[in-house]
């Protein structure tokens, strides 16, 4: 278990949006990053375990964003970009 702040709830990761694949999580850990592919587009949507999300068409840029926003952890992110 990491000493980092409390993980997001599953609900924060699994907001249902019509333009995204079904929000079925495969891994059950407390600190899971998730990247889905926006349906019928080239856009990737990345979710941090804290609930924050970000969209990008470049997986390198997306991973950099996911790993570089620790200041937002623990805030009341609503899961939107």
């Amino acid at each position: 278990m990491s000493a980092r702040s409390a993980p997001a709830t599953a609900e924060q990761h699994t907001l249902v949006r019509a333009d995204l694949p079904p929000p079925r999580r495969m891994l059950s850990g407390d600190h899971v990053y998730r990247v889905v592919w926006k349906l019928a587009t080239d856009v990737l949507v990345g979710y941090c375990w804290c609930g924050e999300s970000h969209e990008s068409e470049d997986p390198i840029e997306l991973w950099e964003w996911l790993l570089d926003h620790p200041d937002t952890h623990g805030s009341d992110g609503d899961g939107s970009a």
Binding site: L27, V32, Y33, R34, W37, L44, P59
Partner: protein, 350 residues
């Protein structure tokens, strides 16, 4: 710093390979010799006699002890020298390193790193490889390429469409978006590709007997650095999705596994396994899957051997481009980098 993580477990061999005879294999640049004692225990020692560096794998195994094939230095299973030729005094430094070993799920794992840090609870599991509920075929192909090229290859299965057409590749594999997850604490990368209505490639059509289109799920679970699991679910279109806790009887399940073990900086042991929960014990299906999967692996080997030459030749100005299909591969690279740095830090402290 080597290009692979140290202080990690790697698959060195299949259980069936290690018998009461000496078996030499280099893992992560370390020449090792393996054998099984009369009690069934697997032993791994450095494959070099302390005297004149002769490979112990070219020696004799007598009463669970290794007798060097050059001058007769004799070692017990802990690597301690118990006899030298022509004299009774055994030099205090006459010892070869013994390496921590774990035999689990039909695999022989060896710990590459500080023996004090070897924690067997960290070895990832693949119980189907050793289960009577599955029938498994397996093999190992030598790869003349660095291990991370194989990691890249396996984390992005869209290449199946182009490199493995006619075997496991169909157009839908490259066309279907993936979902990627990374568990930071457990250090697992998961890449999921679910095809709702896909052509059934010969690999599955002939082994399962399915005629017509299929629902095809590919769920990759990579435990860096060594173990790669592909949970493959194939079912005729219209079969209900599985419900957790209930049998998924309408579908065929194939558990493909790879152990990606560096041999040297430019070569890799490519272990492959295919476990199925149907046609159990059917020799014809086993032969078909073994032959076809080996062909697929050799297609990868051929491509990656070429790529190794290219990458090595361009190492001073190497450039590449990543797109959406590489999301999982990029995550795997990042965890491998973390593991390399963590291993180097521990080594530096020692």
């Amino acid at each position: 710093m080597p290009s692979w993580p140290v202080n990690q477990w790697y698959v060195a061999a299949y259980s069936q390979d290690i018998k009461d005879e000496l078996f030499g294999r280099t893992v992560c640049g370390e020449p090792l010799v393996f054998y099984r004692t009369s009690d069934g225990e697997v032993v791994a020692l450095a494959d070099r006699c302390v005297h004149r560096r002769y490979p112990l794998s070219r020696s004799q195994l007598v009463d669970d002890q290794v007798v060097c094939g050059y001058h007769g230095f004799t070692y017990d299973k802990t690597g301690r020298c118990v006899a030298v030729p022509g004299q009774t005094r055994i030099p205090r430094s006459a010892r070869v390193p013994a390496w921590p070993v774990l035999e689990q799920d039909s695999l022989v794992w060896v710990w590459i790193g500080d023996p004090e840090l070897a924690d067997t609870s960290r070895v990832p599991r693949a119980p189907w490889l050793d289960s009577t509920a599955y029938t498994t075929v397996r093999g190992m192909e030598p790869l003349k390429a660095r291990y991370d090229l194989l990691v890249d290859n396996l984390l992005d299965l869209s290449h199946e469409t182009y490199l493995h057409g006619g075997y496991i590749g169909t157009p839908e594999v490259a066309e279907t978006p993936i979902t990627t997850e990374v568990d930071e604490d457990a250090q697992v990368v998961y890449v999921s590709r679910h095809m709702d209505d896909a052509e059934c490639p010969p690999f599955y059509a002939k082994s399962t007997g399915i005629e017509g289109r299929i629902t095809r799920w590919q769920d990759i679970e990579y435990h860096p650095p060594c173990l790669y699991l592909l949970h493959s679910r194939v079912a005729p279109v219209g079969t209900p999705d599985p419900v957790e806790g209930q049998p998924d009887d309408g579908a065929f399940h194939v558990e493909v596994a790879y152990a990606i073990t560096p041999e040297t900086e430019h070569s890799t042991h490519d272990f492959w396994m295919v476990a199925r929960d149907f046609a159990l014990g059917d020799r014809e299906v086993s032969d078909f899957l073994a032959e076809n999967n080996r062909t697929v692996v050799l297609q990868d080997v051929d491509a990656l051997d070429v790529l190794e030459v290219v990458v090595e030749g361009e190492k001073d100005n190497y450039q590449e481009l990543s797109i959406n299909i590489d999301t999982g591969g990029l995550a795997a690279r990042r965890i491998l980098k973390q593991q390399r740095e963590a291993g180097a830090a521990v080594t530096a402290e020692a």
